[in-house]
């Protein structure tokens, strides 16, 4: 088994680096095509624009690892945003209270998804697809075509202020990613999320309340949609029912690119952050190059397919490597 050709070694190296490899390639291409890419201002800008996807991707990593998927997150963000805007503008709530309620409202939306999936035993895909439509509908009903803007300065502070040179949304996203990493690897919640997605029967056999953990995953996702709604609304200083469309596609793509398996059971929080950065850099580069918005959609879509394909190829290489390892072990035990 040790007769590995150089080509195979390179394959394995690329596979091991995984999303990190794609990130490096994307950065190199961006730097080559746009001289302005490597300025501090632009790099911070990329982090700033990626921060909302990082927040969502952390939650989505748990949902997908647990064997689920949440297609409703864009609609959740929009619904939470308009409801929160209503609290602040129409009802005159203090900003802090409105934000706290926004996060709890998001957790409530997630709980609805989770309870419908586990209670009615319906596929995650179908339930959250329906929720995508329903939540968007509620957002439209609530706002009745209104666009909220001109938020109090205390609210806009979050989106536009920098601490130690970094925008607050970026700081929030990076701290959140670190917390997510710890939850994933160091808590019962993380461990049972992997178990439920990896082998549901085994999880049940070991006495893990699988439905409860499924609901927790969607509640976490909903809470993070609340956080994302706060960040995006504050950054744009505007809120409307049609906002945040396509967030689910970008977030899922970032997570899958990052090395989380669509089939559940294994995931990578850091990889999801890398995936979000990759998409952020691609978007940023196209804006700097002056690519037309419609074409940007086309290119983004194609690049997502490419990156996910690369990830699948990577999984295959890794699986082959592990099969070889098994053979090796068998050999060792024979001798």
């Amino acid at each position: 088994m040790n007769d590995t050709t150089p080509a195979k070694s390179v394959q394995k190296l690329i596979a091991r680096l995984g999303p990190g490899f794609v990130l490096i390639v994307v950065i190199l291409v961006a730097a080559f095509m746009v001289p302005r890419f490597f300025t501090t201002l632009n790099l911070i800008n990329v982090l700033y624009q990626s921060s909302i996807y990082i927040v969502l991707a952390v939650g989505m990593t748990f949902v997908i690892t647990g064997g689920g998927i949440d297609l409703s997150i864009g609609s959740q963000v929009a619904l939470i945003s308009v409801v929160m805007s209503g609290f602040i503008h129409a009802w005159g709530w203090p900003v802090g209270l409105a934000m706290v309620v926004a996060i709890f409202f998001g957790m409530g939306l997630g709980a609805v998804n989770g309870f419908v999936i586990t209670g009615l035993r319906m596929p995650d895909f179908i339930v959250t697809l329906a929720a995508m439509e329903t939540f968007r509908g509620f957002a439209l009903v609530h706002s009745a075509g209104k666009i909220w803007f001109d938020f109090p300065s205390s609210f806009r502070y979050i989106g536009i202020t920098r601490w130690a040179g970094l925008p607050i949304p970026t700081i929030v996203a990076l701290i959140l990613a670190a917390i997510g990493y710890y939850i994933y690897h160091k808590t019962h919640f993380g461990r049972y999320t992997i178990a439920v997605g990896g082998n549901r029967t085994a999880a049940i056999y070991c006495g893990i309340p699988v439905s409860r953990y499924k609901v927790f995953q969607y509640v976490l996702m909903g809470g993070l949609c609340g956080l994302a709604a706060i960040l995006i609304t504050s950054r744009l200083d505007s809120s409307q029912a049609t906002m945040a469309q396509g967030y689910e596609i970008h977030t899922i793509a970032a997570v899958i690119m990052g090395g989380t398996s669509l089939f559940g059971g294994s995931g990578n929080v850091v990889g999801s952050v890398v995936g979000a950065l990759i998409l952020g850099i691609i978007a940023n580069t196209m804006v700097l190059l002056g690519v037309d918005y419609f074409w940007r959609l086309v290119v983004t879509g194609l690049l997502i397919v490419l990156a996910v394909g690369l990830n699948q190829w990577r999984e295959n290489v890794m699986r082959e490597a592990s099969l070889e390892a098994v053979k090796e072990t068998a050999k060792e035990s024979t001798s």
Binding site: N199, C206, G265
Partner: protein
Amino acid sequence: MNDAKKRQDEDFVLEARGITKNFGGLRALDNVDFSLRRGEVMGLVGDNGAGKSTLIKILTGVYPADAGEILLERQPVTLRSRQHAKSLGIEAVYQDLALVDTLEASANVFLGSEISNPLLGMQFLDNAKMRTEALNLLKNKLNIQLGSNRKAPVFNLSGGQKQSVAIGRAIYREHIKILVMDEPTAALGPEETEKTLHLIRTLRDHGIPVIVIAHNLEHVFAVSERITVLRRGRMVGVRSTAESSKTEILGLIIGAEEKEVVPSSGKA
């Protein structure tokens, strides 16, 4: 009467008497007796549909029996559920192993009962401690070393290593009294089969009585002290492995010696 006397002398961990189970109109088990002594490996054999799985499910608390009694260490017990049976020390390793492939060995051994430390009012998993304890358990009780696969996800492990992880999960609690293994060698190659049979003997040497269900008589003869044979829902014989032969057991399984063992019932 002599029989009853003898029974009292023997150190039974588990006894089942007159177990009967119906599924609708079908009688899956008919007045079956079963016993397991301390420190022995009991082979449970029979053709497909003979009632092996049903008996095992009753003994591990998955189904209740319609009639009959179960004694655990001479005390009558009613197994209310699988969890209840587990809490009484009846553990089982299933054919599909029930491992989470994407988690490492120690995470699988401790799945559902992780070691954790409190910090700021939350519980954090102590992965290092679980790894140490799991590897020690596999090494000391099963003589299995994972080597370079210590931290690898379980799908990287060989069949025998996976088997040991599944057994490790069943036996790491100190109060284990009985281990049931359903077709432990079914999915394994010759090399791994030998290892698994060795594992079973190692368990017995550590004082854990084991019930092994297997199709392969070769394997049953290699590990067991006694063999219980089921046929069409009835217990048709218990033999001491050393004093029996494969021919005799096979005869019991297919019913060639039925007339000698039980009165012919003629029931289909």
